[in-house]
Every structure is written in C-alpha cells, then in structure tokens.
C-alpha cells in the first residue's frame, strides 16, 4: 500500500497519545519531561510529513520545524534545570509532591 500522509498522521497521533499517557501517569518529573519530549517529536514529525506529502515546494514547514525543534530543546533544557532546582529544594522529583503552587 502506498505511503500516505494519513499513515504519518496516525502514527504521530499514536505517538502523541503515548507521550500524553506517559506525562499523565508517570510520577517521576523526568519521565514526564521525556513524555513531553515524545509529544514534541510527534508534532514535528507531523510537520515534516506534511511538508513531505503536500507542501514540499514551500520552505515554511521546514522552517517551522526548525523553530519547533529549537523551542523543544530550550524547553526541555529549562524543564530539567527546574527539575534539578526543585529536587534540591524538595529532595524528591515526584510530581505529585510538587504541589506548592496550590490554589
């Protein structure tokens, strides 16, 4: 069967879901960040797939992807830095315990 954008979209949807599941269920902050990283990649994959299948003549998706990747990288860097800082303060990275900003 020929490869269609649908495949990629489906695949990235599944990846996204897995990432979301990870983010929601895992207790360890780093796991959560990893899951978020997965969701990010699913998104960017989508972009490139879209570029590849429909909009290959324009540069925008690629550029968009570049920017997305940069942001993802920056976000994860900061996320981890935060986790480290929180860890120093809380002595644990268990997401459920980080409830200081409670309402």
């Amino acid at each position: 069967m020929t490869l269609t954008l649908g495949h990629y979209l489906g695949m990235s949807a599944i990846l996204f879901a897995i990432g979301l599941a990870g983010a929601l269920t895992r207790r360890n902050a780093i796991n959560v960040l990893m899951s978020i990283e997965i969701m990010f990649n699913a998104g960017i994959l989508n972009l490139i797939a879209a570029w590849h299948f429909r909009y290959f003549e324009s540069l925008t998706p690629q550029l968009f992807a570049v920017f997305a990747v940069t942001i993802a990288a920056a976000e994860s860097a900061l996320g981890l830095a935060l986790v480290i800082a929180v860890y120093r303060h809380y002595r644990s990275v268990n997401v459920e315990e980080m409830t200081a900003l409670r309402g």
């Binding site: 020929t2 495949h7 879901a17 990432g19 895992r26 942001i71 986790v83 800082a85």
Partner: protein, 168 residues
C-alpha cells in the same frame, strides 16, 4: 519504501512505549534515544536529511545527555523505581484520557481528505536555501530564536547555579 516506513514506525512506537512504561529510569532514557533515532529515521525517510541530522544532533546529543545528567543530579543513581513510585495516584485516568485523545486524533485523521495524499518523492531540500530563508524573510523569528536560546541558557544556568552559591 513502505516497509522501511513500517520498520521505523515499529521501532519508534516501541521506543516511545518503552520510554513510558519501563521501570528503570535510565532504560527509559535509552528507549527514548531509540525513539529519537526512529524519528530521525523517519526524517531521512521523508527526505529531510537535514532534519534527521538535526534530530540526532540535538535530541540524542543534547537532550538525552541532559536528561541523563538530570537523572544523575537527582541522586536517583540507580534509576530504580518501585511500582509504587512509577505510576501516579490516579494513573488509570491518565491512560483513559490519552486513549480518548488518540481516538479523537485518529478519527480526525481518518476524516481528513488531505490525509490520503501519497508521497510524491520531492527533491531533498538543500540546506543553503534553508539558511538563506532563515536569514532572509524569516530573520525575525530567527533572531527571536536566538534570544530564546540565550534566555534559556542563562535561565538554566541561574537555576542550577543558585544552589551552589547558597550552599557556600
């Protein structure tokens, strides 16, 4: 072409799943790296080799290492985590929601006509015109990215550094 797609998809999905479900944190990271490789593979498959390399360079090179560092710094050297620590309190609700989202997205994909487009083997994009575009009409977001990255750099340093000063 499609078989490569499926192999790589399986690898990616496996990586993602393992990353989410493994108990040992470091194993999760490694499976994550596998996942990243899978994604890079997809990029190469989609003829976006620049992105492939970028994916490898950034994710595997930087992010994965970063996560490993994070793990090391959070004293969880062994990476061991009991079942109790792995899953959150109401983990099942998370899984259900994820499934729901997946269902909705897949449904959307299925309904979307454009999704049926087949691959059209576009010529690989040259990095040069990407570069020219970046500093051409996309210079503002580019500079924005520069600022974002510097800010992130400084932020990360400050957050991490702060602890050192206080301890002394």
């Amino acid at each position: 072409m499609t078989t490569a797609f499926w192999i790589i998809t399986i690898v990616t999905l496996l990586g993602a799943l393992l990353a989410v479900t493994l108990r040992n944190l470091v194993h999760c990271v490694l499976s994550l790296i596998l996942f990243f490789l899978g994604i890079a593979g997809h990029y190469f498959l989609l003829r976006a080799d620049f992105f492939g390399t970028v994916q490898i360079l950034i994710y595997i090179g930087a992010v994965a290492v970063l996560i490993l560092f994070a793990i090391m710094l959070t004293r969880n050297v062994t990476g061991e985590e009991g079942p109790r620590e792995i899953l959150g309190m109401k983990w099942w609700s998370g899984a259900v929601i994820a499934a729901l989202v997946a269902g909705v997205l897949l449904h959307a994909v299925r309904r979307d006509a454009t999704a049926a487009v087949a691959s059209s083997a576009p010529k690989p994009l040259s990095v040069a015109d990407l570069g020219r575009a970046l500093v051409g009409d996309w210079v503002v977001p580019f500079e924005g990215m520069a600022v974002l990255l510097t800010a992130a750099l400084i932020g990360a340093v400050v957050i991490a550094l702060e602890e050192v000063q206080r301890r002394r």
